[in-house]
């Protein structure tokens, strides 16, 4: 019994090492000076320029126009991530509600049509989507960044399965209690879906936070840049004999990780419940 436990710990420790190791290296390296990194490579020890680098990254006005700060980028990423998650939840819940509770013709076919779009990644429809947004003059707006990606087959699918697990008697009891479709949705379905919503929120927030291609395409105005784009931007400054600001890139990468990690930590209890708990 004891030996088995030891082995389990070993496996877990290996996992932790593999997962966290690179992050530690990034964090430690970010506290060195750029020149230092260029000379000595990555570092496992703190370098003493921690506060300095991070303050600079967050507040320095950089970029091509020299107007965008790390904070601004972080806010853009947050807007994108939260807008994404909230929008997707709202849209896919309503879609799933219609699919499960309203008997209209072709509901099953419609569901499978929505579901098969799961197989199509964003990249497949990125040019038509861009064209549409461009025609609507929505490039360089938050609306343009968020709205085209809101329809979510994954979310609709999860909510559909969840709604199907809610006993029919609840709907019938509500009908007898005089609750119409809208009231039933607000008073019963939404509160019951809390855990599911938390789970989808995490997945979609991280998905939105990590978007790279779409924001790159949609925004030319630097005030709409996201963190993920910012990291790339820093490393692009290969001008003359300049050493790229490795430390800043690492610092940004670490910063870019903080909000998703926090979201996961805050919501993890509901997250696990949402994905495992059936009805009740």
């Amino acid at each position: 019994m004891q030996r088995v436990k030891l082995f389990n710990h070993f496996i877990l420790l290996m996992g932790v090492f593999i997962m966290v190791g690179p992050l530690v290296v990034a964090l430690m390296t970010s506290s060195h000076e750029a020149a230092d990194i260029h000379r000595n490579g990555l570092s496992l020890l703190p370098g003493g320029h921690f506060v300095e680098t991070y303050t600079k990254v967050l507040t320095k006005e950089g970029g091509f126009t020299g107007k965008i700060t790390g904070l601004r980028m972080m806010m853009n990423s947050l807007i994108l991530g939260i807008g994404f998650a909230v929008g997707k939840i709202a849209l896919s819940m309503l879609a799933a509600y219609a699919l499960v509770y309203f008997r209209f013709r072709f509901a099953t076919i419609l569901f499978w049509m929505i579901f098969t779009t799961l197989l199509l990644p964003l990249e497949v429809r990125i040019l038509p989507s861009y064209e549409v947004m461009n025609t609507l003059h929505l490039t360089n707006t938050y609306t343009g960044l968020i709205v085209p990606l809101l329809a979510s087959a994954t979310g609709t699918f999860y909510f559909r399965q969840f709604f199907k697990s809610i006993p029919d008697e609840l709907l019938e009891a509500a009908r007898i209690d005089g609750a119409g479709p809208f009231k039933f949705f607000i008073d019963v379905i939404v509160p019951l879906s809390k855990t599911m919503m938390a789970a989808i929120f995490i997945i979609m927030f991280v998905y939105g936070w990590n978007q790279y291609l779409w924001p790159t395409l949609m925004t030319t105005d630097e005030s709409f840049f996201t963190l993920v784009r910012g990291i790339k931007q820093i490393l692009l400054v290969w001008v003359g004999s300049n050493i790229p600001d490795y430390n800043e890139a690492f610092a940004l990468a670490i910063l870019a990780m903080v909000p998703p990690v926090m979201i996961v930590m805050i919501f993890q209890r509901w997250f696990i419940k949402g994905l495992t708990e059936s009805d009740k």
Partner: protein, 371 residues
């Protein structure tokens, strides 16, 4: 308070399956009607049509002189108790009780008063702030009842409300439902597959089989004069013994064994004889008797169920545990206690000897005596 008139109601599903076949029941104001039958007999479908949760294919349902075929469930002035309680899991007991009233725009003060009254009646007062998951099965059942009571509806509809409870709780909840219904005097329609529940709760019970009514009657009438072999085997525990027999004159041949009785001549020669297990008793020496070859015995404490065969035909007798048992036992039955059914249709055969009112007279006498 209202009467319910169900007239020639049918339910035909899309595939052409007829789940309920032209059923008519008139329910008086304040009456407790139990729909009983095996699963798939259409009893729940019928109830759900009255509730408005299923559309009515044919016929009409009237609640208090108003035809409600096209009326929304919420507008029918009924309340329903579900088998799995269907409590809103995220609401407290109070909110569960109050939800229906809130949706109807009842003033807050009145909601409070009604919830408090229902909670007092059902002894739920100290649980009002709890969520359903923190309650036991019996308490959840009470909350479900409370949700029906607070509405003060014209009729209660119960859909197998006790099936999810354990046996002991079922018995006590059965008593509570009966008392509550008597006290409130609300017309009730109750669905169950449990014949014991049906017998104990009903003012009148409706036995359904294959979507059709087999018999409507007061519990003891149904018990004493079942209209068909189906009712005979469904109502009463243990089920009535049904034995194929041949009649010759006034003699019934059960295989090689014979029962003699008077005035059997109006019966067909080939028939099914029904014998209640509890009507069989030990034969005195010299009396006409049936010899039961004992197979196995079930001890119930107060009674002993003796299962065996009479000339190869299965038979169960309920005997006093004091009687000593050997390999065989001589049993007898009063001829007036015999039931006769047509072998092909299963319908009850009435003969001069048969006094369908014995049961009812006994009940009437008893009720008169109790007052």
């Amino acid at each position: 308070m209202a009467q319910i008139n169900i007239t020639n109601v049918s339910k035909i599903y899309a595939g052409g399956v007829e789940a309920v076949k032209s059923v008519s029941i008139d329910i008086a104001d304040g009456e407790f009607i139990v729909l009983v039958g095996p699963s798939g007999c259409g009893k729940s479908t019928l109830l759900r049509m009255v509730a408005g949760l299923e559309t009515i294919s044919k016929g009409t349902v009237e609640i208090g002189d108003r035809i409600v075929n096209d009326v929304e469930p919420a507008e029918r002035d009924i309340a329903m108790v579900f088998q799995n309680y269907a409590l809103y899991p995220h609401m407290t007991v109070y909110d569960n009780l109050a939800y229906g009233l809130k949706n109807r725009g009842t003033p807050k003060a009145e909601i409070d008063a009604r919830v408090a009254e229902a909670a007092r009646m059902l002894q739920l007062e100290q649980y009002l702030d709890r969520k359903p998951r923190a309650l036991s099965g019996g308490q959840r059942q009470r909350v479900a009842m409370g949700r029906a009571i607070v509405r003060k509806p014209a009729a209660f509809l119960f859909d197998e409300p006790l099936s999810n409870l354990d046996a002991k709780l079922r018995v006590s909840m059965r008593g509570e439902i009966k008392q509550l219904q008597k006290r409130l005097g609300t017309t009730s329609l109750y669905v169950t597959h449990d014949q014991l529940e049906a017998m104990t709760l009903a003012d009148r019970l409706v036995v359904l089989n294959g979507g059709e009514i087999e018999q409507i009657g007061r519990p003891l009438d149904v018990y004493h004069t079942p209209a068909s072999t189906f009712v005979a085997s469904f109502i009463g525990s243990p089920a009535m013994n049904l034995v194929r027999a041949n009649r010759e004159g006034n003699r019934l041949h059960l295989g090689s064994q014979i029962i003699e009785a008077d005035r059997l001549s109006s019966l067909p020669t080939d028939l099914t004889v029904g014998i209640r297990a509890e009507d069989l008793r030990l034969a005195n020496p010299g009396e006409q008797s049936l010899t039961l070859k004992i197979g196995y015995v079930e001890e119930l404490g107060a009674q002993r169920l003796v299962h065996g065969t009479i000339d190869g035909k299965q038979l169960t007798a309920a005997l006093s545990p004091e009687i000593e048992l050997g390999d065989t036992i001589a049993l007898t039955i009063a001829p007036s206690r015999l039931h006769f059914f047509d072998t092909t249709t299963g319908k009850r055969l009435v003969l001069a000897l048969d006094t369908p009112d014995t049961g009812r007279q006994a009940v009437n006498k008893l009720q008169a005596a109790i007052g």
